[in-house]
Symmetry: none
Subunit: 285 residues, 2 copies
Amino acid sequence: MSPTPTPPQTAEELRAAILDRYEGLSKRLQQIARYVLDEPNAVALETLAVIAERSGVQPSAIVRFAKSFGYEGATQMQRLFRDGLLSGAASVGYSERVRQFTQSVNGRAAGGPAEMLAEFVEGNTLALRNLSETVGRKEMTAAVKLISKAETVYVAGFRRSFPVASYLAYSLHQVDKRTVFVDGVGGFIRQQVHAIGRDDLLIAISYQPYAEESVQMVAEAVARGAKVLSISDSLVSPVAKPATLALQVKETEIRKFRTLSASMCLAQALVIAYAFEATATASKR
Amino acid sequence: MSPTPTPPQTAEELRAAILDRYEGLSKRLQQIARYVLDEPNAVALETLAVIAERSGVQPSAIVRFAKSFGYEGATQMQRLFRDGLLSGAASVGYSERVRQFTQSVNGRAAGGPAEMLAEFVEGNTLALRNLSETVGRKEMTAAVKLISKAETVYVAGFRRSFPVASYLAYSLHQVDKRTVFVDGVGGFIRQQVHAIGRDDLLIAISYQPYAEESVQMVAEAVARGAKVLSISDSLVSPVAKPATLALQVKETEIRKFRTLSASMCLAQALVIAYAFEATATASKR
DNA sequence: CCACTTTCGGAAAATCTATTCTGGTCGAAA
DNA sequence: TTTCGACCAGAATAGATTTTCCGAAAGTGG
């Protein structure tokens, strides 16, 4: 092994060096490389033993890793990250960050891509906070019950709601629930819901402006005697009104674009809550 | 001397306590107090010996100092500053919180559906907060530039990443970018990327365990000379390594299910940032 | 399938760190 | 000036932590 003549002197350089030499590293060393890249802060200030445990290797392996990059020992490598942490925190004080942030949020100067990201982080966070207020214990319980009782779950969502619907369908399928994702490929929407019956559930996700397909599907499902769980931005929206149960999700709007995190979050929670209940009742028997 | 009954629990509290009791301290202890107030970062992560040398006192004096404020030893006091540094600037505070959170969650008996929702709200919020720390200004700018320069954008994401990819494709299309969503319907994946060329961009979204399709697609795109923008959980993942640019997104894991909010949020920000830049350059002419 | 090299795990050894303890200094009060 | 008590420097100690080392395991090339 030919150790780097002069080891990287900054955290950034080391990062680059790791990326560069990653392929040439052995399996265990790659494992460590990965952890170092993923959790630089942990590497910076936890002890070797802790880092070793969290990344699932032996302490000695970490020393080997550091040496393979030309350092005298693991400690020298840690110092890089420590210094980086220090300078990074010192140069941009807390108040400065807040100022930058609020400035970008107040939407004055259009700002570059980074400011845009900050805005969306803020918007999504707000939407999430609001979620647990609009969707209460009662609604969640009822929703999970609906899913549990359903023979087959049909999931529908178009345009902006499509990602949420696809996620819901995918993860319900993952937890062994009989699921049909009504994606309308080839315009076969009507055919796909045609089989829905009295024991089935349609989960419809739709926001303003409500897609025509969704509205029709809800109507169709109701006509066939199926249960309907709506996820929408209003309790009186065309998809929520006829539904058996409606969950209200209010997304934040940023620069004319509505966020999606709250909906995704709700979908995740629904699936996992269902999964837990299903396994719980299954093990009872 | 009457040591504080309950020692300060945060760095800020300790700061206040020091200022409050400063007059009553002995000469050497005042000297240490000054150093602690002036260089909290050094106190946070240097060893006692180093701190002692820099502030011109004996290590034992620092221990006395810590004890006089009610701590068991100097280490406990250091922990405050360490935690403060983390939660404020970097993301170990983040991963640490996540660890504690999931631990407390996993340890307890499974809550009801409402608790599940609360958990996911918390997890998604954490992931969001972390996002703006791992994806910096430089990366965002570069990513937007890649999108802008591309003739056609191909978007790919399977399994868990599918919702993100579909959202990205949908909204890029909305803002009038030439976009191809590689959904692999009917197993036509290879055919769909076949047309990708030197002036095109592939946006690949993939998380562990990396879908075989994604890895192959990235390889194919690189082979054809196209640019690749990867959104992944590690910079050395099989989809990130060969990419022109890789954005690292760390999602929280709750009950073995990873969240998606951070990825969705990043996707949104990318699209809007691109849209703004596109209209800006268009109106310039 | 076998020799040879690389890599790894685990425990022992060396180093470093935090804390305690002791003897002594300084200053104030009597 | 003497006495008392607080305070401190520095050595000593107890405890971790990092690093080294070596046999075993896993690859590699012939």
